[in-house]
């Protein structure tokens, strides 16, 4: 069975809590806070003001520039504020606050359950529709999908790889979508493949989801899709873009600034494909998504179809609430998610799950001295030496850190996960990476200025 070539770790997947829980529709929130920055790139520009009435699916903020995405209202009601509101980390961020009144949808959105396969649109029209719907990568990276599908001059897309790996422990939202909405998801894949004009389309799914693999294979056989399902050996971080491309095609994306397209591959998340289906075939913008609420101590872990902007506290409540004491509520999975201090912050496009840790597991392990056990070197999927990078970072030896290829780091956390001394390896590597990237950008700017 295929997997990526270097490093990786095997955290226990903890999918058992929520993987068999069918998707439920979360009760509509009374108030939503919709951030203008839910994607990589420039925040969108608000198109509504306090007092405006909006419908579900109405454009409320427009993409600003090339790397940006549209934002639509997830509820119908009245805009009560366009103002700075604290996000999950407690940092104030521009958000549109809407008080919900009923559930009135934009008339052009097709809300029927009928599955529409036929798509006669040209590639450019498909991409335009995806852009219009404000779709971004829903696996967590939130890269605007229309930018990803616009292949740069001189590059050719050979492979479309759909990321159904969901290698983050605990999370099951992609899993449930592949299981319950497989056909629509595959039509979305077919549409993306058409937009790209690729020869090979592969859905990569880790082998801990045999039901999803079987379901997709069955639909492909019955309905005649030209799509291959590739079961992958379970190993974190297989869902990393570069790791997944290497696992499926054997091709390794060269170090930055090279992109996946340079080896002829485009990777799209499974839930994003479903959103593409809804956008292109049903005119439905990205206003809701499946969010897993999970954790070892949650009384009722679930997979909830949630409107964007819903307070995360509402999901936590649906999951059974928090127990007394120390808690860590993570937006995303345990390996790359972000811990929150403000759980009244909203669900956004990149939020695939909420993972809750309590008590001792909410805290980091005790730190010892490095014993040079080399486990971090063995675990690093990029072939870096975290033990060395942490020292270079501590000593601020940025030139050396650049030589040791710190910009290659994908921040997957394998090194820190595996370190028996409990060292905060990734904290230091991240610091050094940001500093080095800043130096590289400054150097490039200086070069450009000389010319």
């Amino acid at each position: 069975m295929k997997t990526f070539p270097i490093g990786g770790v095997h955290p226990s997947d903890n999918k058992c809590w929520s993987k068999d829980k069918a998707i439920e529709v979360l009760e509509l929130p009374d108030v939503v806070n919709i951030p203008l920055a839910q994607h990589i790139g420039a925040p969108a520009t608000a198109k509504v003001a306090k007092g405006d009435k909006v419908l579900v699916g109405q454009l409320i903020a427009e993409a600003t520039g090339f790397m940006s995405a549209n934002i639509h209202s997830s509820v119908s009601g009245t805009v009560t504020a366009v103002d700075m509101v604290p996000n999950g980390q407690g940092i104030r961020q521009m958000m549109i606050t809407i008080k919900r009144e009923g559930d009135e949808w934009m008339p052009e959105i097709d809300r029927s359950k009928d599955i529409v396969r036929e798509c006669s649109l040209e590639p450019q029209a498909i991409i335009a529709k995806i852009k219009q719907a404000g779709i971004v990568g829903m696996g967590g990276a939130t890269f605007p999908t229309h930018v990803k599908l616009s292949i740069p001059q001189g590059c050719v897309a050979e492979y479309l790889i759909i990321n159904g790996v969901e290698c983050e422990p605990f999370l099951t939202s992609d899993h449930r979508n592949m299981l319950e909405r497989g056909e629509e998801l595959l039509i979305g894949v077919e549409i993306i493949a058409k937009a790209l004009g690729v020869k090979h389309t592969v859905v990569g799914v880790e082998n801990n989801k045999p039901d999803a693999i079987a379901n997709l294979k069955k639909i492909i056989a019955e309905k005649g899709f030209d799509i291959k399902v590739e079961p992958l050996k379970v190993q974190y971080p297989q869902g990393g873009e570069k790791q997944l491309i290497a696992a499926v095609t054997g091709r390794q994306v060269p170090p930055p600034p090279a992109l996946p397209i340079h080896v002829g591959a485009v990777v799209c998340n499974a839930s994003t494909s479903l959103a593409v289906y809804e956008a292109v075939q049903k005119n439905k913008p990205l206003i809701e998504r499946v969010v897993t609420i999970t954790g070892e101590t949650m009384a009722t872990p679930r997979n909830l179809l949630t409107r964007m902007g819903t307070p995360i506290s509402k999901l936590v409540e649906m999951g059974g609430g928090l127990v007394e004491g120390d808690v860590k509520v993570v937006n995303g999975g345990p390996m790359m998610g972000r811990a929150m201090v403000n759980i009244d912050s909203p669900v956004t496009k990149g939020c695939s799950g909420i993972t809750v840790f309590v008590g001792k597991k909410a805290h980091r392990v005790a730190v010892d001295d490095c014993i040079k056990c080399a486990k971090c070197v063995e675990a690093c999927p990029m072939g870096l030496e975290p033990y060395l990078l942490i020292k270079l970072s501590e000593r601020q030896m940025w030139d050396r850190a650049e030589q040791e290829r710190i910009p290659d780091c994908i921040e997957c956390g394998c090194c820190q996960y595996t370190c028996p001394a409990g060292l905060p390896l990734l904290d230091y590597v991240r610091l050094a990476k940001q500093t080095v990237m800043g130096i590289i950008r400054a150097r490039a700017a200086a070069e450009a200025a000389k010319k």
């Binding site: 070539p5 270097i6 770790v9 955290p11 422990p169 570069k242 290497a246 091709r251 390794q252 994306v253 060269p254 170090p255 090279a258 080896v263 002829g264 007394e324 004491g325 120390d326 808690v327 860590k328 509520v329 993570v330 995303g332 345990p334 390996m335 790359m336 998610g337 972000r338 811990a339 201090v341 993972t355 840790f357 909410a362 980091r364 392990v365 010892d368 001295d369 490095c370 014993i371 040079k372 056990c373 080399a374 486990k375 070197v377 063995e378 690093c380 999927p381 990029m382 072939g383 870096l384 030496e385 290659d408 956390g413 820190q416 996960y417 595996t418 028996p420 001394a421 990734l426 991240r430």
Partner: protein, 332 residues
């Protein structure tokens, strides 16, 4: 809601290994060899082991308390591992005070001088052992006979390596190892240091550590393969033919500290390289140096020296041998 929200950057999960659990696994892996040793040599083995472990732990505790300060590191169990390994390198006839001197050198000079676990350039147990070997050569090489019933004295008190070495000057390789009983060597029925005699028990310990992912195969396999190939080449180009071509390499792997060194001493995290490629270079170095000392040097045994020499080379290996980077060899 009485909740304190903990906010630290990802990752939010940690694998169950800790320094302490790794050391505990090494101790468990050493127990079979200790048991065989106690069976072969009697209860003196346990006494010596207890003295060695106690001295190492006490020395580390005192140095940490009196000189270094800060958090006590004894609980990471590494002093116990050093004590066990030091004991494994001693003969059963050793006087108790030499053990204490060994522990002071191993922990005091070999480890704590540099700042404790993780910072020492040389394997502490070997620093202690080699010091004792040079300072007290007689006491360190007076080996008693196995006391277990059924042992036939084939090699009269000298270790197999020493007896072969004393013969090798004028006898052929075949004659030199003619008196060797391989079955006895496998089960530990030979004179030698306490922990090095039980080949099978050491291999079992090594497999346990591989299974628990405490070590990888790279260091032990590269050392043992190098030694075997080296021995084979020497015999082959020495003009010997027949069974000795296989017996001579097998003898060198089973005799002396080869297995103990390859599986337990050379794999010491702190003093071995960080990359798989580096580990293999390090292993080849140890294997080759061991054989050069064994065959042509003044000592019958070369494992300890070889490991210490390669410990010294480790920083250089780490500087120049880099792991295979992702994306360096893009297909197409």
């Amino acid at each position: 809601m009485a909740n304190k929200f903990i906010a630290a950057p990802a990752p939010h999960m940690h694998n169950p290994h800790s320094t302490q659990s790794l050391m505990r696994d090494v101790i468990i892996a050493l127990l079979p060899a200790l048991a065989v040793s106690a069976w072969v040599y009697g209860l003196d083995v346990l006494k010596i082991t207890a003295i060695a472990i106690t001295s190492c732990v006490v020395v580390e505790f005192l140095i940490q308390k009196l000189f270094i300060g800060g958090r006590q590191t004894v609980s990471n169990l590494s002093a116990i591992v050093t004590g066990l390994l030091l004991a494994f390198n001693l003969p059963t006839t050793i006087p108790w005070w030499i053990i204490v001197v060994g522990a002071v050198i191993a922990i005091g000079v070999g480890k704590m001088t540099y700042g404790g676990l993780g910072k020492n350039p040389f394997n502490p147990a070997l620093v202690g052992r080699v010091f004792l070997l040079i300072a007290y050569p007689v006491q360190m090489t007076t080996f008693s006979q196995p006391t277990v019933a059924g042992y036939v004295d084939a090699m009269s008190g000298a270790t197999p390596l020493a007896s072969v070495k004393s013969l090798a000057g004028d006898a052929s390789f075949a004659e030199a190892i003619g008196g060797v009983d391989f079955t006895n060597m496998l089960y530990g029925m030979m004179p030698g240091s306490m922990g090095e005699i039980a080949a099978l028990a050491l291999i079992v310990g090594g497999l346990y550590m591989l299974w628990r992912k405490v070590i990888t195969w790279h260091i032990p396999v590269s050392i043992l393969c190098t030694m075997a190939l080296f021995a084979f080449a020497v015999v082959f180009f020495g003009g010997e033919r027949g069974a000795v071509l296989y017996e001579f390499p097998a003898f060198h792997i089973l005799a002396g500290g080869a297995l103990l060194g390859a599986i337990f001493m050379a794999t010491d995290y702190v003093t071995s390289p960080m990359t798989h490629k580096g580990m293999i270079i390090y292993g080849i170095g140890i294997g080759a140096i061991t054989m050069i000392i064994r065959l042509w040097g003044a000592y019958p045994e070369g494992m300890s020296f070889a490991i210490l020499i390669m410990n010294g080379v480790t920083p250089l290996i780490n500087k120049y041998v880099k792991p295979r980077r992702f994306g360096k060899t893009s297909a197409k």
